[in-house]
Symmetry: C2
Subunit: 491 residues, 2 copies
């Protein structure tokens, strides 16, 4: 009877089997700020507004997450035409669809069991899609060869990253696996490591030098970590999330040398590979640099790199498409990876189809080519403008300083929070206090820097550059006004 | 230098970071027979055939997996029309699409950020879809109330099942969490438990009584398990996979009483809820039975039930749509569940849209109603015929005995394997030896019973009933011929 208690109506009631005290303790440690309490409050505010409640704003603007279509970005017409054709193949006889969209749809459907996207694909992904991905990587990397057998299609990039981390986890106590991640980081990494019970090893990006990565800091972090865990992997996000830096080729070479020397498995999160805006910056894939460093590296360093349909000019987050390429992975481990993926059957087939279109878009001479290029260019150049605008406006505000948004989709400015506000935070982080107050007063939803990690005593927020330009201007003005008011209030 | 070795060209090469000896040991324990070595061999044979190699068969027939469209089942027209409209909304002005498909597409798009399936949805799933799921469950269960807040959309049912198991895992050594699963089982369960490091507690279904579930066997399994672990959950698959039984209402009541008394979290895998063929059999949801047993049970027993777009008359496996309903879950645990799901952002939106259509299909009076009913009825009645045919033909073969396929999509006949073949198996299970030989000689790909679990000394295979009727007849004849030949060869 120890598990039973009386309820109000006198009935014997059993204590629950699954309670906060008896649930998986590693799950409790998971945190994910991008969809944390501040977003929950934003959703609540939206509901209150729609119910006619009065607020000091007429609209909640969610600048917390890189959700391009939700912020008004339009999908690429060609991609959606092909997806419609694949969904409902009777449209193949509709003369309003361009011929290249039809032929692309036919080729995708021919690779599906029973010519239907409703069939399971192989667990590693549709073979012809993996071949197209391999050819894309070869073109992108100036001819460095790519084997379709090394390509795994995934349910968004997150799925691939978590799967790779899962393979790497092992050991207990002082030999527990450790994984190096940048601070600030994208919190998928910390969340996955917490859930897997691995050790998170922080290395700090250099805010003073445009959030660049210093090898001496990598070395410091690694040396300290070796005292209490078994460092096995090094994760890099390039272009950076939330920090927006684009790594130089030289820096990537240094990182590869470091990984080789220190025997670390490299994980390169390259989902923003088309999102490079700043003059003089260019995306270099880890794979390409690795191969150009010669066989000493290209034949030994283990690398997994990740891409997705969710970012760049596509912004198709909802389809959960993505791939990973693995280099120099031990054959037995690869067999284990394939087996592990088979349990979940396959990534969503519409996402695989979309990934195929991203790596194999309309070619010169095809009917959809011009429209495709026009749409892609428009999206990317608007993003570049907004990156510049965001940096410029934020840097005019006293108490806010913002590094250039060289790439990706976010600004991550540093904010000065007055001592008085730091002391007043009432159990929350000062930047959470700041962002929560901004949300309540302006309707703008940002993510506090503490959700990504930052040097102690510094405060930041992450803001996407995705709102439409007119809206972005209003948003930046509101941020400016709020910051000044907040500073006055607590000075 | 201990990590380095010379390669053939004299270069110093580093030992790999990630090897079979240093990888996550729990991943190595994972097994998943439905896509195991026999399927890998089937794919190889298909390639060899396509390259013109001579085989004793002209085609590989994959009866290993419930992949309906791959076996020729046609998608429901209405579902695909709506998906095409959602993918490419310009089609909304196309007069060839029925009005109800258009209005359904508009309502789905209105629930998507920026009216695009390319936006992330809330992590728990699109709110209007969860409301539609709740109304579906209420209709299905004769008015038992369903709260949309208890509905979580998932990436296929597998995702929901693994997530729930993840919450339940805890403890070490003799207090390690244990989960009861039926034997035979669908190997997702054993694979997930192995990966999570939980204890698998086997209870055996009664083959002599149409694979029914005996409470005395549940009690035996539980009592034995209590000596070495902490049993926390009981998983039921109804209709059964791979065994095809449909549980009686009485049996479900007994299971619920057992779970209540023994304090077990109930997990009901109900993805085959529309696949019931046998006379006198009917699907009863655990939720409905639970609520009809009165507040002593309905207010205390913790239940998660799972559904999917992949089975029933839809067969849309590739879209990875699904939902779970949770009942009586502790509020703090529910908050943890929502947080955990947020890390993976959201289930694929096209799969959510499809789930919405499944729970909210065309209604009487709507233009697509008749066609929808006709297509659904045709698919389900063909499946019922094939279930009957499979059972009948297999039971004519000496050495094969097959329980009625009351529901789901598989037969799981018992096969007699001669002593001599059992001894000759050369390191593989006798039924794997049998199935591998059948594949090489006939091109038919089945899954050996050992992949699902079976009583020691008994042998089975799982065969889907999905091939087109004419093909199914050929397949059954080939199985018959092979079995006779095999029996002669080893007698």
């Amino acid at each position: 009877f120890s598990h039973q208690k009386k309820t109000k109506n006198g009935m014997m009631s059993r204590a629950k089997v699954l309670t906060i005290d008896t649930m998986n303790p590693t799950v409790k440690k998971v945190e994910y700020a991008v969809r944390g309490p501040i977003v929950a409050r934003a959703v609540e505010l939206e509901r209150e507004l729609s119910e006619g409640m009065k607020k000091p704003f007429s609209e909640v603007i969610k600048a917390n997450i890189g959700d391009a279509h939700a912020m008004g970005q339009q999908p690429i017409t060609f991609f959606r035409q092909v997806l419609a054709l694949c969904s409902y193949p009777e449209l193949l006889s509709d003369s309003t669809f361009p011929e290249d969209a039809k032929s692309r749809a036919c080729s995708i459907l021919n690779s599906c069991g029973g010519n239907s996207m409703g069939s399971y694909s192989p667990s590693q992904g549709i073979e012809s899609v993996r071949q197209d991905v391999a050819r894309y990587i070869e073109r992108r990397d100036g001819g460095v060869p790519c084997d379709p057998d090394n390509i795994y299609l995934t349910t968004g990039a997150s799925d691939g990253i978590v799967t790779m981390l899962k393979l790497l986890v092992c050991g207990e106590g002082a030999t527990r696996a450790g994984v190096m991640i940048s601070i600030p980081q994208y919190p998928l990494y910390s969340a996955a490591l917490a859930e897997l019970g691995a050790v998170q090893i922080n290395y700090y990006l250099n805010e003073e030098k445009f959030w660049s990565l210093d090898i001496s800091e990598l070395q410091r972090a690694l040396d300290e970590a070796r005292l209490y865990c078994n460092p096995r992997a090094l994760c890099i996000i390039n272009p950076g999330n939330p920090t927006g830096q684009v790594q130089s080729r030289e820096c990537i070479e240094d990182v590869i040398r470091f990984a080789a020397q220190e025997r670390l498995f490299l994980m390169a999160d390259e989902v923003y590979q088309d999102n490079v805006y700043a003059e003089g910056c260019q995306f270099h894939s880890f794979k390409k640099v690795l191969f150009e460093m010669g066989p000493e590296y290209s034949e030994t360093v283990e690398l997994a790199s990740f891409h997705s349909t969710s970012k760049c000019y596509m912004g198709e987050c909802g389809f959960r498409g993505g791939y990973m390429e693995i280099i120099n992975m031990d054959d037995d481990v690869k067999a284990q990876l394939t087996k592990l993926l088979s349990v979940r059957l396959c990534p969503p087939v519409p996402g695989q189809a979309l990934m195929d279109l991203v790596v194999n878009p309309p070619q010169p001479g095809e009917p959809s080519y011009e429209r495709f290029i026009k749409e892609r260019t428009a999206t990317l150049s608007t993003l570049a403008e907004k990156a510049k605008l965001t940096e410029q406006v934020l840097n005019t505000v006293q108490g806010i300083s913002c590094n250039p948004v060289q790439g990706a989709m976010y600004s991550f400015p540093r904010i000065t929070i007055p001592e008085k506000a730091v002391k007043e935070d009432m159990g929350q982080q000062p930047d959470m206090f700041y962002c929560m107050k901004m949300l309540e007063e302006t309707g703008i939803c940002l993510v506090p820097g503490s959700g990504f990690g930052q040097r102690e005593g510094t405060y930041h927020f992450r803001m996407t550059i995705l709102p439409r330009t007119d809206k972005l201007k209003i948003l930046l003005n509101k941020v400016q006004e709020f910051h000044l008011k907040f500073t006055q209030q607590y000075s």
